[in-house]
Symmetry: C2
Subunit: 493 residues, 2 copies
């Protein structure tokens, strides 16, 4: 057991922060709410980004880059959007500093005031649709399928590394279509891409669904989402895909000539995932010994620790494992031989456990003689001694097992904490108890008032209306009014 981190049962929030710190993922900076993403955390993000980028390109999207700044007036153009985003944001008012006449550093030059303030983008719909006006003239220019990888800023008052920071990294897709049908299809396609990525690569099971009107993106007609369950039973929104209708086309006057020569407003979608997903990764798989990373996004797949006395023994061990390292590398795995002589093997084991390296190999002098090696897997923490003959195939198989085991384990946990509930007292009991809290599938009468009331009473929100739900007659969990479908209630991050 790693003494340095708080147990999950003791204090889940502190455990989370301990993992972020001890696994060297990120830290708070001296700029309020802004984090520093450390090399190991950034390497995980790079793997996530590269895979998502491949999936975006396979579905016909291209990348572009739009300005960091948004003129203040742009935000006001879409009425709902401004309500959602214009409030807590970083505002640039000046463009110059000057030497303090008192000789103490620099001060803002009052003469360098901008005519119109600029907002650091909290999301880019406005600046992008202002640009699309010139790009879209005819149906031949559609669909326009563009993605941007960028940093965005939302002036959050209470921040938490990865989960909620003032600045974060994300991608935002912004597409334009000739018809509502195509735009809705795109919205759903990208939700599926997100679900495939989060489940297939991050090994996090998700529920695909739609948000209630009260939980929609500011400016969207419909918001689709994927929702994941963390180990404490709380929900985390892992990605969203919005059908924006013609709202931004109206606000920025983006029209196209259709095949019949008539002018029509363009239909829009936007969709995004962010570094917040790293928070979901931690809270889905990790344990009291540290981070656990699924092989498909791990910066390092296999680490080899020599158990030796002196450099000569280490050299012998290195010579023995060199061929398997080369073979693993040629198959695309990241492999490291830890030749640091200032650390003891036990400390190395603990370090790599903390960082969640999926497979750890250890070789001592007996292994060397017997042509064997000790293989430890991070997910189950089991060890076995294996013959070097055929070891690469063994490790490949093991990495696949770890990937699927992590997904299955998370799925089993989610199942164990998912409840069909038809009784209000049971609803409250489950949600209040941190040993049972999870997803409650219950009927809702469809009214925003009921949704608000349930939130007020239990802090549980409607995470989504699942896409795969079957229609059934039922009664609202709170009001008893008629309902046709269950929705997912949970407390959430």
């Amino acid at each position: 057991m790693a003494k340095e981190i708080t147990g999950r049962n003791e204090n889940y929030s502190q455990w989370y922060l301990d993992i972020v710190k001890k696994a060297d993922l990120a830290e708070n900076s001296d700029v309020r709410g802004c984090m520093v993403i450390k090399p190991y955390g950034y390497a995980i993000w790079e793997n996530m980004r590269d895979q998502l980028d491949r999936m975006f390109k396979e579905t016909g999207h291209v990348n572009a880059y739009f300005p960091l700044f948004i003129p203040k007036s742009f935000l006001s153009k879409e009425a709902d959007h401004v309500e959602g985003f214009a409030k807590e944001c970083a505002v640039v008012t000046h463009y110059r500093l000057k030497n303090d006449p008192d000789g103490k550093g620099v001060i803002v030059d009052p003469e360098a005031k901008l005519e119109e303030e600029l907002i650091v983008r909290p999301t880019s719909e406005t600046i992008i649709w202002n640009t699309y006006r010139d790009w879209i003239k005819s149906y031949r220019d559609l669909p326009l399928l563009i993605n941007q990888w960028a940093n965005v800023v939302r002036w959050e008052m209470r921040t938490r590394l990865f989960l909620r920071t003032a600045e974060f990294l994300w991608q935002e897709g912004h597409t334009a279509h000739a018809t509502a049908k195509e735009a809705v299809e795109e919205t759903e396609r990208m939700l599926d891409v997100y679900a495939d990525f989060v489940e297939g690569y991050m090994a996090i099971p998700v529920i695909r669904g739609r948000k209630t009107p009260g939980e929609r993106f500011a400016g969207a007609l419909d918001t689709y989402c994927i929702e994941a369950m963390m180990q404490d039973g709380l929900a985390l929104q892992a990605g969203t895909s919005h059908f924006l209708g013609q709202n931004f086309a109206k606000a920025f006057d983006v029209k196209f000539q259709n095949k019949e020569g008539q002018m029509e407003l363009v239909w829009a979608t936007s969709w995004g995932v962010s570094t917040r997903l790293i928070g979901a990764l931690i809270m889905t798989h990790s344990d009291d010994d540290g981070l656990v990373v699924p092989p498909k996004i791990a910066p390092l797949h296999v680490v080899i620790v020599p158990i030796h006395k002196g450099t000569e023994q280490m050299d012998e061990i290195f010579a023995k494992v060199k061929p398997l390292m080369a073979e693993l590398k040629s198959k695309g795995y990241k492999v490291k031989f830890d030749d640091d002589e200032t650390k003891r093997p036990g400390n190395k084991f603990a370090d790599y456990e903390m960082r969640g390296v999926p497979v750890r190999l250890a070789m001592g002098m007996r292994d060397l003689e017997n042509s064997t090696i000790e293989v430890a897997r991070r997910d189950t923490k089991t060890k076995e001694t294996v013959a070097l003959e055929g070891i690469v195939g063994h490790i490949e198989k093991l990495l696949e097992d770890i990937q699927s085991n992590l997904f299955q384990r998370a799925l089993d946990f989610r199942s164990s904490r998912t409840y069909l509930v038809d009784n209000w007292d049971e609803f409250v009991r489950i949600i209040e108890d941190d040993t049972t809290r999870g997803f409650i599938m219950a009927h809702w009468d469809g009214s925003p008032e009921t949704e608000d009331k349930i939130k007020e009473l239990t802090k549980a929100t409607i995470r989504c209306i699942p896409l795969d739900a079957t229609e059934e007659d039922g009664k609202c969990i709170l009001t008893g009014n008629p309902s046709r479908q269950r929705v997912v209630f949970a407390r959430n991050y």
Copy 2:
């Protein structure tokens, strides 16, 4: 000839802007000085970034991410640095907007004023060295070799797409070392990486050198650079690598315990290249028909245009070229078959010329019968008819030829515009005449006053003191004072 773009001889500046626009690389946004990088321009940047990233990782560097914002007081901590960077920058003073009581959009909430203003990073030395203080405790933590891919903002008054924009994309390496020697070696190593990249991938020949004290980075003890010559004879600084000494370690109190147990200040380097390189790319290779892109960074290597009547003929042609497309793709080349039936082949030819696609294939019905294909190369605009048998090998060879031809052509041009000059009148004559203007290798007495005077008289600056120059006795081109080495004078972007 593409009618839409201004000839280079007519107006080089306008030709440049025409290329940026017509090749769909970038455009000005409605935010002063900030550009939109369009998908085709961004695809070139992605290829540049990915290759540089591989080279950084091969030389032991890792990526991380630091905050967009820098507290104002940080900038003042390093005296030279603040002089260079604190002046023209975007200043965040508030963190909230509110509804205008007059009902007209939103206004800045005067109550949401930051205690200390934040600067949008113009470069990240200060925030990074403030962070390194906690990361570096012992010689075991060194060297620290970190790179960041990021957007930065410098409030330029006169902007020009790619060459000088308020916001731009770049990478900035920030490394920490135990000794001055190691830091200087790193500075030189990264200069070599830049030179290898710019010459080997972008096919732009560069001179490696050091800046004079007056041209150094604000806060550096020594600035190394690579300088390229554009087609109009002006120099463009294509990358810089700085030896920062202990200046930032002093300013941010970053010390490490050496092997003997004593505390020492850390030695630093920083190095960067930016989207400005795309400007250099355009002005090195492109012509009056459009952009020319070296194969090694081209988003599309080969385009195939069918010359056909009706869909049936197109399908036949497509069936014929399908195997060669598959083979090229399997070798890592990007290939496109242009099946757009709304455009005529001639227009397609012009479009792909404008975008600088290295190789264009065209197949008509006669080619189909003869099992031949027309192969056109973008750099020389020559065409030939080639048998389909063995075509993939032919194209591979051709792409290599194009890559090396572009480099050689740029090198020849540079040679033709590089002069050994020992006479002031000749110096002035060459620099004033836009048919001769280029690099002048001349003696300089080493004084900042002479450097300034030459700049004042001719607008020529010392681009660098070349690393490979041989020592020779000479007399300063302006003052006649003794000099030991020639330096590179040029007008510059």
